[in-house]
Subunit: 279 residues, 2 copies
């Protein structure tokens, strides 16, 4: 693993790394924040999944999360949003919502995507292994969060792996990708026309099948320009109610889809996770 | 004035604006943060001057300053770092340290720069007029801060206008541009070969001539890659001592020149300014 940069930040260390990802068959960059730790101390880990067009850098540069992670003693890990590199296929139309920067945190089954686009395996298995090997991470204390496409990723990955994540939160997640344009386009390309295969990657459909309940927080700005066409939080809330799965839902008047919104409430999310990670 | 964007942030409002700057004879963008204010309330203003290659956006996206500005009730104003536009001359070599993104907060006297490159007049006169006309700003309560080239700008502008700024702070400022490569290159181009004209734009030379003492805070990372060749804080500290001008100087072990460093200490700086702006 190659360390691309290291910057001191809130008495901790902001790292950017490059490594060969076996699951994705390409080089990947990852941003990691290490809080100030003493001696042999190990820290819980919060994984952050970013939205369409983002890389591993957006969250670490714009959310202001390091301040509170340093205070609470949390490691933050932000991966990229898709495989990258010259050999990795992209949307032939060049749109932002498919291909590079738009991996949707699933394992593709369709050509030409199925070889590289295996973000689910990367996030669930390869990345945590890497973090556990190289950093003072507690392997038993993980949470996951994300924004928009990354909120979808956090919810679907957590609901399918409730034994591995103690808690999950999401900012403005794509709550039901099988029923919105971004999701339908991505799933048709990555998973094919058979909609049965889509059900494992839709939080609103997964929530009734979660092996157990874990603390789940959803945050949504009321002035979000994607709220009604793409995000559809009411579908998740209805499904959660039907499944008796408790959700904490914050609706934020006036807030939009931007990192200015995330920065405002990231401290609340990290404190939420910390309650379940601290023991 | 055209409003390019508005994002709710920490219950305040993050704005990006475009306006015709008469002093610079071009269109300029400016980022402004308005804290939550009630009714007819007016707020003090902290001007932020950014460093080489930055625009008005870097500080607002990366420093995390809105949280503390909202808490303290401070308006933040971040201008661009040079005139912009097709008619504005740039460094013929295309280097980052002259021309676009590198205005050095002075009025150029030399061709081809002297028509557009009048950032001193823009920051001292035109921009505050604009802010006072359009926003609930207290015209008698201003502070100024900045980073690197913008730290140089904040210090030199404040030391020449001690009646207008109640306090000044700087992160990793270029403390004596007449004696470092960035400054010498800029001043030779903008001000010409006659070094007498340079003295008005060097904080270490200005400090003995300041009309009065105002609270002055300088912050410097000890792992800053530009410390020894370009920033030279010891020259400012020596000049301040010779002039009996009190400086608060924070030397930060391990911190570099990046926004991760600024984000770590911006709250301290805004609290410093707030002490003198609050009455």
């Amino acid at each position: 693993m190659e360390q691309l940069s290291s910057n001191r930040c809130f008495e901790g260390e902001q790292l950017r790394l490059r490594h060969r990802a076996e699951t994705l068959d390409c080089e990947m960059t990852v941003s990691v924040f290490l809080p100030p730790l003493s001696g042999q101390e190990k820290a819980p880990v919060v994984y952050w999944l970013s939205g369409l067009t983002c890389t591993d850098e957006n969250f670490m540069q714009k959310a202001g999360a390091q301040r509170i992670a340093a205070e609470l003693g949390l490691i933050l890990v932000a991966p990229d949003t898709s495989p990258r590199g010259d050999s990795v296929p992209d949307d032939p139309e060049g749109d932002y919502d498919l291909g590079l920067g738009a991996g949707f945190y699933l394992n593709a089954s369709q050509s030409p995507w199925q070889h590289h686009y295996r973000m689910y395996d990367y996030i669930v298995d390869e990345l945590p292994d890497l973090v556990n090997r190289h950093y003072p991470a507690r392997p038993d204390a993980w949470a996951i969060s994300g924004h928009s496409m990354g909120g979808h990723g956090a919810l679907t990955i957590a609901l399918s792996n409730t034994a591995r994540f103690r808690s999950v939160s999401a900012f403005a997640p794509i709550c039901s990708p099988t029923r919105c344009p971004w999701g339908v386009k991505a799933f048709e390309n990555y998973l094919g026309k058979d909609r049965d295969a889509w059900r494992d990657h839709d939080a609103s459909l997964l929530i009734s099948r979660a092996p157990e309940h874990i603390p789940l927080l959803v945050d949504q700005g009321e002035a979000d320009e994607f709220l009604e066409e793409q995000l559809l939080p009411h579908l998740l809330l209805e499904a959660a109610q039907d499944a008796d799965f408790p959700i904490t839902y914050h609706s934020r008047p006036g807030y939009d889809h931007s990192y200015f919104y995330i920065a405002t409430f990231i401290a609340e999310h990290l404190r939420f996770h910390h309650r379940f990670l601290a023991d």
